[in-house]
């Protein structure tokens, strides 16, 4: 695994050693290392196994484009799979592990797959693992592929999101980026400068000191979104644990963006171009300059451009044995050749590698003279390192994400902008493609099944040729069929040669091909970074009424109802929720109970046109409504579909109070406001949601009147003075109170509203006054059951996105009201008047079995798949028989007929169709 060390050429006297582990081996790096540079310095050649063929792979690059050195960091809940060793700063005690290979990454028995590689061509998995199902094979194939291990539990670290604005966002901290940032900062602009690596290309301390700059290292611009919003993923130095977030997502809105993103070096494509020891020439130069690490002991460079000459020279001067430089061009510039002669490096002109040797790691390279047919003058060079350079492609992913158009340039042999983007400036090497001549970079000889185009996904030239033979022509299709560029690196490495390979296979020019879409994120981003603080308890707002504490003390079982936490029931010790519900129903049917109805939506309409405005929304005629009397009303969408229901009360000549369903409070207020602003701006009315201002307690049961009287001594609470649907604006505990006599349970009920902060006082007073009557609280479950027995609508449970008023028995008022209220015209559309629509009915179970909510119904002679379904159900509180409310095809015409009830694919029971009213049919109790 290790060649002879040391590879660290020079180490500063003050270098701080950093101990870490790779696959359990204790290794030593120095402060400032990346995991990759430390592994190279320790002579580690094999760091991973390839995706399909399990070929050994080594570190190939020094940056985001790394296709091979994907490693597992840490273990357990802190585990991070697929980290790019080239980007991870080395820290003391870091546990690094390779992700594939058994028994180890350097000796992997699955290498045997490589011997039969021809079987594993493009589309192999799709075609082979079809029977009986891909899912049978997936787990083992995923394991073989080496994706690393997901964390074993919830992430213990903290993440953060920040929003920022700036005048200039400079992406890339090389010399060009720093220069751009300095210029902008000097002009007084608010500047962001971000760099994905730990270090900048020059000293940035003076920039950091300025008040108008924000300089961020270890920060990658990962997405360029609409209107110049750029997402940055920042690894926080020393982050993790309790003190600091581990990573931070910045959402930066920039007036101008400077892309100083540099260029990505392209590889050369030839047989066995994947062996450990083969590396990008520019990467070797970075390891030398930043870390004093040599890529190997005997180095050959292969290039098609000028840039590798400087690398060769610098390596040579640093003391590395550079065996030779191979240039695919017929001749290089004379000055370059002289320079090579000066440092004693042999240059092989018009040559390129056509094969390599080695089993674990590289041992030699075969080069050949280009030109003519096939290869000639084959020559083998012994080496442990082959540095390749196939030219440079500017990093324009963000430019493309921003909507910039790119086209393959025949002269630059890479993608470049077709036109400027209005707010983006491209500087440095990202902005200029070297115009010097480029030589051949894809070998025309050798075994195409061993010429890798995508190292990460093991896609070879032969896979692309196969795809073209099978009539895939568009790059997007070839990408998907061969999986070219679809892995973690997203094809950052070698996009330009890949396009040339496709073009050659198709016999066209690369410029005719276009490119695949550049989508965010530019590099993988952890889910933690994306969600920031919005996890667990902070995921969504948690709303509690002013009575939450008192109900909790009374043993409430709370549940989420919309955004509110409400008491579903008050189970006694040892009592199940169902039992508690049944007991609470008996309490309101035979005694008296209190219920926290505070979430009930409340909206005030204020202004001279308040009542007229309200009247435009309800199917019920409000013009005949008496002052301080409540009327039940149903609201529709403009499509005629039932939207919400509640009561309407005229408080004053210019003040109307609406109630809505609890979950509809926000929607209805927004709906009223939308119509007020957009359709009837001349209406003199203000819409004021007041739900949160009031605590609402329902006092329910036959003793309610007696208790209410004690609460307000001296007031006339007789049925004549305060009848059903009556309303009183009065005073309680010295402050304003609003009392409705309405009922959702079918029992005598006073719905008492007091200012929110007085809720606990009201609740306590009612329990106190009612003690002699055996008063107690009841929850949402009991109320919903009681209303089901009465057949009162529960919007959203009994109704859905297709229900119109006539379906649920409100066809008459809806038709009788002549005014153009919202939704009225839609009720006259043929679809909404069909006789076979689903209609609300009651069901009486014909056996003891319950009628499951959601179960489907069929009529005896039906040819339909379903004739409707159960929307609410339970056991009748009076005699325990199963009853339900259901929506049934032409339901009102089916009275007394029998339906079969289907659940889980079988008939569970039968039921008789009845009127949806099971309790107190005359309404005597509620009107008493």
């Amino acid at each position: 695994m290790s060649a002879r060390g040391p590879y660290r050429l020079k180490e500063r006297a003050d270098a701080v050693p950093v101990e870490f582990r790779f696959d359990g081996r204790a290794l030593r790096g120095v402060e400032g290392d990346t995991v990759a540079s430390a592994l190279l310095a320790n002579g580690v050649r094999v760091v991973s196994r390839s995706f399909k063929f399990h070929r050994p792979r080594g570190i190939f690059s020094a940056g985001v484009e790394e296709p091979n050195a994907l490693v597992q960091l840490h273990t357990g809940v802190h585990g991070i799979p697929c980290a790019r060793a080239t980007l991870v700063p080395l820290t003391t005690g870091l546990e690094v592990a390779s992700q594939a290979g058994w028994p180890s990454v350097s000796f992997d028995v699955l290498r045997a797959i490589d011997g039969v590689h021809s079987v594993f061509a493009a589309g192999f998995y799709n075609r082979t693992f079809m029977w009986p199902s891909w899912h049978m094979y997936e787990p083992i194939i995923r394991k073989l592929a080496g994706f690393g291990r997901a964390p074993t539990g919830p992430d213990p670290d903290r993440y953060e999101t920040r929003h920022a604005h700036c005048d200039v966002l400079v992406i890339g901290g090389g010399t060009a980026g720093i220069k751009a940032a300095r210029t902008a900062a000097a002009g007084g602009q608010r500047v962001f400068l971000v760099e994905q690596h730990e270090d900048f290309g020059a000293d940035v301390s003076t920039l950091e000191a300025l008040p108008n700059t924000q300089v961020l290292a270890r920060t990658t611009a990962v997405g360029y979104y609409d209107h110049d919003l750029v997402a940055l993923a920042q690894g926080v130095a020393g982050g993790g644990g309790a003190a600091l977030p581990r990573e931070r997502l910045w959402l930066v809105r920039a007036s101008r963006v400077v892309l100083a993103t540099g260029a990505l070096e392209q590889p050369l494509i030839f047989s066995n171009n994947d062996r450990p020891g083969i590396m990008l020439a520019g990467a070797a130069l970075q390891y030398l300059r930043r870390h004093g690490v040599a890529p190997g002991r005997e180095v050959v460079l292969a290039t098609n451009n000028d840039s590798a000459y400087h690398t060769a020279r610098e390596l040579r001067l640093a003391g590395v044995n550079v065996v030779a430089l191979v240039d695919s061009r017929e001749s290089a510039h004379r000055a370059l050749l002289q320079e090579m002669r000066g440092v004693g490096i042999a240059v092989h002109g018009h040559c390129m590698p056509i094969n390599t040797q080695g089993f674990g790691a590289l041992s030699g390279v075969t080069i050949a003279l280009l030109g003519g047919k096939g290869a000639s003058n084959l020559r083998r060079l012994a080496c442990d390192t082959l540095l390749v350079s196939g030219g440079w492609s500017p990093t324009l992913h963000l430019f493309a994400q921003a909507g910039g158009k790119l086209q393959f340039s025949e002269s630059g042999r890479t993608f470049e902008p077709v036109a400027d983007a209005p707010r983006i400036e491209i500087v440095g090497s990202a902005g200029q493609i070297p115009r010097g001549e480029l030589g051949e970079r894809v070998s025309r000889v050798g075994n195409t099944a061993r010429q890798w185009v995508d190292l990460r996904h093991d896609v070879t030239v032969s896979d692309i040729e196969l795809a073209v033979r099978e009539n895939f022509t568009a790059v997007e299709h070839i990408k998907r069929y061969t999986t070219l560029g679809m892995s973690v690196d997203q094809g950052k490495l070698g996009q330009a040669p890949a396009v040339e390979v496709i073009a050659r296979a198709r016999g066209i020019q690369p410029a005719e091909l276009g490119h695949t879409t550049f989508r965010p994120p530019f590099v993988p981003v952890t889910l933690g970074t994306m969600v920031g603080r919005s996890v667990g308890a902070l995921y969504a707002p948690n709303r509690r009424t002013s009575l939450y504490g008192l109900q909790a003390a009374a043993g409430a079982l709370f549940e989420d109802f919309g955004e509110w936490q409400r008491a579903a029931a008050f189970p006694r010790p040892g009592e199940a929720r169902e039992q508690a519900m049944a007991r609470e129903v008996q309490r309101i049917r035979h005694g008296v109970g209190v219920y926290d109805a505070s979430p009930l939506g409340k909206i005030e309409l204020i202004g001279p046109d308040a009542l007229d405005f309200a009247d435009r929304f309800y199917i019920n005629n409000l013009k005949t409504l008496h002052m301080r009397r409540a009327r039940y009303g149903i609201m529709l969408r403009e499509t005629g579909i039932i939207f919400d229901d509640g009561t309407v009360v005229v408080l004053d000549a210019d003040r109307v109070l609406l109630t809505t369903t609890s979950s509809g409070a926000g929607r209805v207020a927004a709906w009223l406001e939308e119509w007020r602003q957009c359709e009837w701006p001349q209406a003199r009315v203000v819409v004021m949601p007041v739900t949160d201002q009031w605590a609402t307690v329902a006092l329910t049961g036959q003793h309610a009147r007696a208790i209410f009287e004690r609460l307000q001594p001296g007031c006339d609470v007789s049925n004549e003075a305060f009848p059903h649907l009556g309303f009183r604006a009065t005073t309680l505990f010295g402050r304003e109170a609003r009392i409705y006599r309405v009922s959702f349970s079918g029992e005598l009920t006073y719905e008492i509203n007091v200012p929110s902060d007085q809720g606990p006082q009201l609740w306590t007073a009612l329990l106190e006054e009612g003690r002699s009557f055996g008063i107690g609280p009841y929850g949402v479950d009991a109320l919903l059951h009681a209303r089901m027995e009465k057949g009162f609508l529960h919007i959203g449970a009994d109704t859905d996105g297709t229900t119109v008023p006539d379906d649920v028995g409100f066809g008459k008022p809806a038709a009788a009201k002549l005014r153009h209220y919202i939704g009225k015209r839609s009720l006259q559309l043929p679809e909404n008047m069909r006789p076979d629509r689903l209609q609300l009915v009651g069901l009486a179970g014909e056996r003891a079995a319950a009628l499951p909510v959601g179960s489907h119904l069929r009529l005896a002679d039906s040819h339909e798949a379903t004739d409707g379904w159960v929307t609410s159900a339970g056991l009748l509180s009076t005699n325990g028989t199963p009853v339900a409310i259901a929506m049934l095809r032409a339901g009102r015409r089916q009275t007394d007929r029998s339906v079969t009830v289907h659940d889980g694919g079988r008939i569970v029971t039968t039921a008789r169709v009845v009127a949806p009213l099971f309790y107190d049919p005359t309404g005597g109790r509620m009107n008493a």
Partner: protein, 93 residues
């Protein structure tokens, strides 16, 4: 994420706003034919290019306004108040 110039508050992130569909739809009278009515309800232009649409600055001033947005580039060319198509406000962004 769009950056929407609310005519009352200034430019804010899209997360503060709610989209309200097209701004060109006119509500017919009750006497409208079934065809006219269903076109009002359901037929939309799906315009490619400049498109008039309504937005609500719900987490801000709470006001509705109109936006002229190019659906191909998302460029916001104008904003103007409800019922005030003659009073275009240049976005100036």
């Amino acid at each position: 994420m769009l950056y929407i110039p609310c005519p009352y508050c200034g430019a804010r992130d899209e997360t503060e706003f709610t989209y309200g569909g097209p701004a060109y739809v006119t509500r017919p009278e009750l006497s409208a034919s079934d065809r006219e009515w269903t076109e009002y309800l359901y037929h939309r232009q799906n315009t490619e290019g400049p498109y008039r649409e309504r937005w609500l600055h719900g987490f801000g001033c709470g006001r509705w306004f109109n936006v002229l947005r190019d659906t191909t580039t998302n460029e916001i060319q104008k904003v103007y108040p409800m019922g005030g198509s003659d009073r275009l406000i240049e976005t100036g962004r």
